[in-house]
């Protein structure tokens, strides 16, 4: 058929990882192009001139950027193992939750990790409120997609491996097993799913990377408050 699928990614980008998982789950053959984001290749800049970011999916020479956009394209182009539900209302719900995950959950948990003092406290409160909504939405399902991993699981997947890394670095509990039992067990089930487990960046490398990011953030905030 002459399909050519390339994925521009970095070793750690959680957004690119979403696409890795989607391609692997659907059994799509692809070539991974690893970018050094501190030294972006001319090809990356050519394929995503607007944002200059990963992930970028290039299918038969045509580039697509933005992880949500790429996920929907993949689901519409390769019909096996659907990621989004078939029913329009269920699809709308999946898209709603995906947006909530990025706009609210990711933002608040990132702030809880990277900020200090009062800002961190406020972020933790916001994160807990957002997680409560997710906990409720789980309502007895194994995954947000139902019996198997779907669109929302892939979008939220960063929670399953990044949160424990954040918690280890800052010494704070962000997703408390007692407060969010369903979400906590989702995190275990997701992380242990073979495709996810085999496609996760090395934990020790991630700890080094995020510790460095946090140190840099602390340094710049303390120097600006002088």
């Amino acid at each position: 058929m002459g399909e050519e699928v390339k994925l521009f990614r970095s070793w750690s980008s959680p957004f690119a990882l979403r696409i890795v998982w989607a391609l692997e789950i659907k059994g799509i053959e692809y070539e991974a192009v690893f970018e050094d984001l501190s030294n972006k290749s001319p090809l990356l800049l050519q394929y995503n001139p607007v944002h200059k970011k990963v992930p970028i999916l290039v299918h038969n020479g045509r580039p697509i950027a933005e992880s949500f956009v790429i996920l929907e394209y993949i689901d519409e182009t390769w019909k096996q193992v659907p990621l989004l539900p078939e029913d329009p209302y269920e699809r709308a719900m999946a898209r709603f939750w995906a947006k909530f995950c990025d706009d609210k959950v990711l933002t608040s948990i990132w702030s809880a990790f990277i900020k200090q003092g009062k800002e961190q406290e406020e972020a933790l409160v916001a994160a807990a409120e957002n997680l409560k909504f997710l906990e409720k939405e789980m309502k007895g399902k194994k995954f947000f997609g139902g019996e198997r991993i779907g669109y929302v699981d892939i979008v939220l997947g960063w929670l399953a491996n990044l949160v424990s890394i954040f918690e280890e670095i800052v010494g704070l509990k962000i997703v408390d097993e007692r407060k969010f039992p369903l979400l906590y067990s989702w995190m275990q089930d997701f992380a242990e799913a073979p495709i996810i487990r085999d496609n996760c960046p090395p934990r020790d490398k991630m700890i080094v990377k995020f510790k460095a990011l946090l140190d840099a953030a602390i340094a710049s905030s303390s120097s600006s408050s002088k």
Binding site: R62, E66, V69, P88, Y89, A92, F96, F133
Partner: protein, 225 residues
């Protein structure tokens, strides 16, 4: 049923999508200061409009609603059929939301250095929009949807036609510039004239009055003691 505010560009988008497809709907005007039980139970997470209720089932978030409308009522498609073209439409919709809509909102409710920063970001985003308009539009292709028909990107960007000038006036900044954005201004002129869109444009004075109040409220300014 559509729950909305008259002044909300997000609600207007959904109305444009419904009208484009000739879908009949009941419009319920919500009170910002006294949200209805229906709104609070239909959108408990965000408590915002627009909310579309179809056969009693609620959907929130304007772009999610528009995709739902497109998938449920097949006539007059809003998104293209081809998966790659759909991806491009979604990409641009996302860009507009992240860079144009968000920055405009932030410029409206900020001042001084903060506002200057947002206005700069907004100007850069508008340059990208002008670039895309230059690339895609011409005398035969009036809209991003292709040809003479509006599509997803037009509907998502459409709020700029009515609200951008209002917000500029209220916020005290200038981003629209016919000289450096000729294609965009042509697109705005064409969009405003689309028969089902023209009658929906709220009068500028009414919008200015409302958004002025909103800005003062957000900035904690007191209008008159």
């Amino acid at each position: 049923m559509l729950l909305g505010f008259w002044f909300s560009p997000f609600v207007k988008r959904v109305e444009w999508a419904l009208k484009f497809k000739g879908i009949e709907y009941d419009y319920v005007e919500e009170d910002l200061t006294n949200k209805s039980t229906l709104l609070l139970t239909s959108n408990p997470i965000h408590k915002k409009v627009p909310v579309l209720l179809h056969n009693g089932k609620p959907i929130a978030e304007s772009l999610v609603i528009i995709e739902y409308i497109d998938e449920t009522w097949k006539r007059n498609p809003i998104l293209p059929q081809d998966p790659y073209e759909r991806a491009m439409a979604r990409f641009w919709a996302n860009f507009i939301e992240q860079k144009v809509t968000k920055s405009t909102k932030e410029a409206l409710v900020s001042q001084g250095e903060q506002q200057e920063k947002k206005v700069k970001e907004l100007k850069e985003a508008m340059d990208v929009v002008e670039g895309e308009a230059k690339a895609k539009l011409n005398d035969k292709t009036l809209f991003f949807g292709g040809g003479n028909g509006v599509g997803y990107v037009d509907i998502v960007l459409g709020w700029t036609c009515n609200w951008m000038e209002t917000i500029e006036e209220v916020g005290g900044f200038k981003v629209l510039d016919p000289e450096s954005q000729p294609q965009f201004h042509k697109w705005m002129a064409n969009f405003r004239e689309v028969p089902f869109i023209k009658p929906t444009m709220e009068p500028k004075e009414k919008l200015v009055e409302f958004f002025r109040m909103l800005r003062q409220d957000r900035l904690g300014l007191v209008a008159n003691k």
